[in-house]
Symmetry: C2
Subunit: 398 residues, 2 copies
């Protein structure tokens, strides 16, 4: 008789976004004439840049002619794109071998799929609060999960605890949901810890482009010895607005060797066996992102979102609300004022300001009492949302 | 200390295609002036049809304007595409619910990923010879594998053996590599067996469009009660030349319930947790395939390949060589003549005719002594390859 993977029954219902939607529906039914501003969206809103659009059209035209048509490509991505990614790292003085770079349809999939090559017996260390995918994909495989507490005291940047034995360590910097960014010394401490424990760091760099401060690392490979203990995952989703286009990449250095086995060869085997590579058309679009023209164009969009983040943090500074993020991240993570819990503040903001965003408790126990605002809305909406926030605060204080 | 998934060490080296490449390199080095014809390719060669090209350009243009730009889409695919797939099935009198259809980047991934939701304790039944992915993905998870012998005696269409207890059953019809196609009664026997054993059939329908004979099933759901025991996987790779574009779909009926758990909800949870959906642009291209215009255009390409298959089977008939496939499949699977084994015939054909194709032994123990020819080459190449085949046969007989 067929047996299901019973670990799936241990998954908690991911009710955060359905509950948000339910409360918003209730609000719009109650106040059909009120204008709602969504500040919770984790998706980009600006369209693709011209360099990417041109590359897409060109690749599509290649596919209509037998002489230039492309069928199956390399499962790990075409060399033209992997080379472009290597060159991009090289500009920041990180030197990768072209076969250490693997192209995929996004970081969510890569972070999930990398677990295939790792035993279910490993102990996993995950920060709390966190992107729920890290937890769920490990629950699905029955791994033991420990949490590293991120909280106000450590500015939501937990540091390693040598008394904890972990084999797989998740780090995300700039962080989703907290927007907090690790410094060089902090990441070096994590690298040292991982090497001491013979563990691997799964480093999620999906938001690296938002790091504006030159004194902050954008890649785990900015840290000495990271190539001995860390896999990096990155994506064009937030970088170049590819959330609906789909392209990501992972970096698995040849120097990652555990018990005599190199992870690069296992990951290569996983990719070649279980997938047939990313669409050629999309790979040409991704290549365009890494040209000088593409980089200039995507940075215009990034600056637009950074301007929004500044509008948000400016309002919070003015109101004296504690937060992390926003300076080197598209997310701002604030302490709910008036001692409200996350859902109470959600309701307060929705009811009084017509602004919807994301309750922090949806990202783990330590998210309770916190709240995530996103900078991916329009300038006008962001400015108006912050105007309303300031008004309800003044009114509430009266 | 990090432990790898040790089952990866049980994988056999997939040396088939590297060995073919090595021998071809040797040949071209030895005979730089001789013309080589490749008849082994499992990839399409005709470009995308106009309806698809137009849909791609249109979708790209939508992505350059904020008003029509699309970010994250539904993880299981947009409704417009899932509805088009449902409508396509409905034309053949198979009625699916829209949330029983899941869009993906291809069948290779789906067939691999479906194993996530199934326990590693299940016993797997796989035909031999077979598409190597079925075996490798189960070896990676340490499942016990039984083989159903496909051979000349059963026309490479193995039937269920009630004394064998299996939980997961792979069927591929039209088959890769053998081109053999099951009839209604044969598939009904498999469905009855699966229901008796409370097993699930993973039905790979990637080549269904090549079924020309109206008396042969093209979907497992053409069989009564299959919705209680079978998941179907299909792809636009061969259907519409999407091998480099990437789009597939799986059908998981709500009626698939094991131990009180429905597989549809587990698969939904898997998809929503581990992926972010297929590129919007590609989904619009796939939608175009299912329009009347798209169907007419892709059928022109299918007829082109079918013409090649006819050229191949005509030559084999003339030479009295035993084969399966070719009539309702792009592959022709022949018994190596002169009692040669697969590699001996590979070398014979390469050396004497300058024709390279695929040794059957690469697909499993039962493939030894057989050989796969593909109909995906050009008309000219196929005709010339068969002319040379006939000539070397006549010469060899002398």
């Amino acid at each position: 008789m067929l047996k299901i993977n019973e670990h799936y029954l241990d998954l908690s219902e991911g009710f955060l976004f359905t509950e948000i939607a339910r409360r918003i529906d209730e609000f719009t039914a109650k106040y059909p004439d009120r204008d709602l501003i969504r500040m919770g969206v984790g998706d980009v809103t600006l369209p693709l840049c011209d360099a990417v659009i041109d590359a897409l059209h060109k690749a599509v035209d290649e596919m209509k002619d037998a002489a230039t048509f492309r069928g199956y490509g390399p499962e790990i991505g075409y060399e033209f794109l992997r080379q472009a990614i290597c060159d991009h790292y090289a500009k920041r003085n990180i030197h990768l071998n072209i076969d250490e770079v693997f192209v995929s349809d996004g970081t969510k999939g890569d972070l999930s799929n990398i677990l295939d090559i790792l035993s279910r017996d490993n102990v996993v260390l995950i920060p709390d609060p966190v992107y729920p995918v890290y937890v769920d994909t490990n629950v699905m495989e029955g791994r033991r999960i420990l949490f590293a507490n991120a909280d106000k005291e450590n500015n939501f940047l937990p540091m390693p605890d040598r008394s904890v034995d972990a084999d797989i360590i998740y780090l995300c910097s700039p962080n989703n949901p907290t927007g907090a960014v690790y410094g060089y010394d902090q990441l070096k401490a994590w690298v040292d810890y991982a090497i001491e424990k013979d563990a691997v760091i799964l480093f999620d760099a999906a938001y690296e482009i938002f790091v504006a401060d030159p004194d902050l690392p954008r890649s785990i490979y900015d840290i000495e010895d990271a190539e001995k203990c860390a896999i990096e995952f990155c994506s064009l989703s937030k970088t170049a607005g590819f959330t609906g286009v789909r392209c990501g990449y992972s970096v698995v250095p040849h120097t990652l060797v555990y018990g005599g086995i190199d992870l690069n060869s296992l990951w290569m085997r996983r990719m070649t066996t279980k997938c047939n590579g990313l669409s050629y058309i999309i790979q040409r679009a991704a290549e365009a992102v890494f040209t000088d023209e593409g980089q200039a164009q995507i940075m215009e969009n990034i600056r637009y979102y950074q301007e929004n983040a500044k509008t948000i943090t400016g309002a919070l500074d003015e109101l004296g609300i504690w937060y992390t993020g926003g300076k080197n991240s598209p997310y701002v993570w604030l302490k709910c004022p008036f001692d409200m819990d996350s859902w109470a503040f959600f309701d307060f903001l929705l009811e009084n300001a017509g602004v919807a965003a994301t309750p922090g408790c949806g990202f783990g126990a330590n998210g309770e009492g916190f709240f995530r605002l996103s900078s991916f809305s329009s300038h006008d909406d962001t400015i108006e949302a912050m105007r309303r926030l300031k008004k309800v605060f003044t009114d509430y204080g009266k």
